[in-house]
Amino acid sequence: MKNGFWIFIAVFLALGGSWCGFVLAPELQLGGAKQTTVLNTSDVYPVGRPGEATQGSSVYRANGCAACHTEQVRQTGMTCGVTLTEAGKNPQAVTNLISSLVLINLTKEAADAASAKITAGGGKTEIHITATGPDIARGWGMRQSVAEDYLYDQPVQLGSLRAGPDLANAGARADANWQLLHLYAPKSEVKGSAMPPFRYLFEVRKIGREPSPDALKLPPEFAPPAGYEVVPRPEARELAAYLLSLRANAPLYSAPISP
């Protein structure tokens, strides 16, 4: 390497190569992705978030929730089980056959084989697929996250640190009222919660002629002084709508599970 030209060539080759690999190729492979269908149905997935939830996604971004929360569920494997749905013409033979087979905690291949044997004996079967892994066992989701889940997100907020739980399926775990109470005073909902409160998303105001129907029903130690009420601002409402829209549980070809 005697002159600067070679350095230029080196940079061009190295960075250009990875640019093609990790910018261009993914865009060609995934950039044109469209909705897929939910496994064994004609439903499309994902459906975009409702308008309020889309605005809520931007509240989530602005307040940096992704600094403590991920939105990606990991899965270490899956297990299959075979169930008999119809015994067929010769129930006794099928029962005997079943008692000789292992039908739970199977790999996909073993489940297919067992199912084939029963079908050959005249019965009808169904294969159930369950995803496994610590994230799934914690109830953070029913399957791993896949590329399809993020199709309509802008920006995609995967997160990289789990100071708080994964939120890929937060919408499946709590309702809007809980989310609002939790945002205003996390400790009111989760004892000893380490999540900071987001009080500025709420307005503490004097109760007018009638209390607002939206006012939070807080436990006494978190309630405002008598005569005051806590009402969510639009941002809080949008954020709660976004959290409720977080559901990535649909069975897909790329992440098969049984509902």
Partner: protein, 541 residues
């Protein structure tokens, strides 16, 4: 390249003209960098305290964790690391090429512009206008300013490189010039495809990882290692061991390193994380090569005997430069910079120079800059190995999403890069401003503060992160229990951040004291009329 032309045999005469030509651009770059360094550690402190007291400053939307934490990271990366790296690169390119910087006003303006961009970006994050992408949080206005400021600075460095009088390339050249070209490409790609015309869906994540890897891992590695390759031979009095190994390390680093960064568990088609893991494994090769180069350069047996008198004299001139340079630089540009300093204080060093001509057993290097750069080098190897480990699927199962990641990042940004830059700046700043380091003891103190701070930060978080990961992987342990088990580790890391904050304050203090002394000496020399306004600007920046 023939033996005769090995970089260490070049006649590198410390030319006061060169140092003087760089003075204002470097002061502008480093001044802002010192300021943002302190800002970043204050923000990091605020963020860290929130884990012990979640209600701390929670009522103020500008200071919530989700804004302060990315702001602290970006203030360190864009506020300190990049401008400091650019400043050191400008100096090294000029020094190695023996060419003074022309048109210094442009880099001065570009440096101010850069720091303005950082200000705009940080205000953007704190006011809730972050883009939401890691390391790319600055809103559009900030990133556009940064991009053009960088282009100007890199252009000037490249022009200086093209105009070099010493044509032969030093290994540092490859690393630094590659880094200069690196940033515009990655930064523009990320901003165009993520912020300006966003691609859809999870491709955003991929480009984000590609960008972060190429900036945090590669850009910093290129500049930091390039800097160390210049300084370590200087400190040890032995040539770089060896030229060809350095060439090998350079090529393998940029060929393999660019493909790292996509976590094994990412929700992507399998080929991408797999390719990235393979590349990360191969990156062990350049990391080890760099480790071997450094090791052999510092500890090599008798290779030091081969040094020719030329680098020795330049070495000694460099070593004594601090004292004599004040006059040399500002009084007479024609005086012989090689003339040994007659100060009695130099006796110790003088005897060391003599012994260097003999077998190099006495080359044991001392002094502040060397400590910084040696520690930075050790951190580079360790943080790279941590980075590579995190790309291994089996380890990643445990460490992904835990505090192990932030620990690795901090070791890379602060332990490796910032420490290397401190060392380089303490070495070159006295030569550039022609003022002696005002409190050499304080620089030592800063080393100890910063070093123990970074260790107290990363060691507990890395260990705690592994524990946290194992607990999170055991669904029998409640999430809250796994999180609470992190608290003692987080507490220690907060103490580490406090020490880092003190170290950063000392650095800023030394830097501004030096510009102050320089400004005063200028006044004394009746250059006041011309240069005093600039000095005021420096102090503000």
């Amino acid at each position: 390249m023939s033996e005769m032309k090995t970089p260490d045999a070049r006649a590198e005469i410390p030319d006061p003209m060169i140092d003087a030509s760089l003075r204002l651009p470097l002061l502008a770059l480093f001044g802002g960098a010192a300021f943002w360094l302190v800002v970043s550690s204050v923000l990091a402190m605020i963020a860290s305290i929130k884990f012990h007291a979640p209600d701390f400053l929670a009522a103020c939307p500008w200071l919530i964790y989700g804004r302060v934490q990315p702001a602290a990271d970006d203030a360190l990366l864009y506020g300190f690391c990049i401008p400091a790296g650019l400043g050191v690169a400008l100096w090294l390119v000029a020094q190695l090429g023996q060419a003074p910087l022309r048109g210094a006003i442009v880099p001065v303006v570009a440096a101010k512009l850069w720091h303005l961009g950082v200000l705009v970006g940080l205000i953007g994050i704190l006011s809730g206008n972050s883009t939401g992408f890691a390391w790319l949080e600055f809103p559009r206005a900030g990133s556009v300013i940064l991009f053009f400021a960088y282009l100007l600075l890199a252009l000037w460095a490249m022009m200086n490189f093209a105009a070099r009088r010493e044509r032969a390339l030093h290994p540092s050249h490859w690393f630094l010039v590659a880094a200069l070209l690196w940033f515009p490409w990655t930064y523009s790609t990320a901003n165009l495809f993520l912020v300006a015309w966003p691609v859809r869906g999870v491709v955003q994540g991929i480009i984000g990882w590609w960008f972060a890897n190429n900036l945090i891992f590669l850009w910093l590695a290129l500049v930091g290692v390039g800097t160390a390759f210049y300084f370590l031979p200087k400190f040890s009095g032995r040539p770089l061991q060896s030229y060809y190994l350095a060439l090998f390390a350079f090529w393998t680093l940029i060929l393999f390193g660019t493909w790292c960064g996509i976590p094994p568990g990412a929700p992507l088609p399998a080929w991408m994380p797999t390719l990235s893991s393979v590349a990360a494994t191969l990156t062990v090769v350049p990391v080890l090569a760099i480790a071997i180069i450094m090791w052999k350069t510092l500890r090599g047996p008798t290779s030091g005997c081969n040094i020719t008198p030329a680098p020795l004299s330049s070495l000694s001139a460099n070593e004594v430069g601090g004292e004599g340079r004040g006059e040399v630089a500002s009084l007479s540009l024609n005086s012989n910079p090689l003339a040994p300093s007659p100060l009695p204080a130099q006796a110790g060093r003088g005897s060391r120079q003599q012994s260097q001509a003999a077998p190099p057993t006495n080359c044991e290097p001392k002094g502040g800059p060397f400590c910084f750069i040696r520690f930075g080098f050790a951190s580079f190897v360790l943080s790279s190995l941590m980075f590579i480990a995190m790309a291994c699927p089996r380890i990643s199962r445990v460490t992904e999403f835990t505090w192990f990641g932030p620990a690795q990042t901090q070791l890379q940004l602060y332990g490796f890069f910032a420490m290397t830059m401190f060392g380089a700046i303490y070495h070159l700043l006295p030569r550039v401003v022609g003022v002696e380091l005002p409190f050499p003891k304080l620089a030592r103190l800063q080393f100890w503060l910063s070093m123990s701070g970074v260790l107290l930060f990363i060691v507990p978080l890395a260990i705690g992160g592994v524990e946290q990961g194992m607990k999170l992987n055991n669904p029998g342990i409640a999430f809250m229990d796994a999180t609470n088990a992190m608290l003692p580790f987080l507490r220690t890391s907060t103490v580490g951040l406090l020490l880092i904050l003190l170290g950063n304050l000392l650095f800023a203090l030394i830097f501004f004291a030096m510009t102050f002394v320089w400004g005063k000496s200028l006044l004394k020399k009746a250059h006041a009329i011309v240069t005093a306004p600039l000095k005021n600007q420096e102090v503000k920046a």
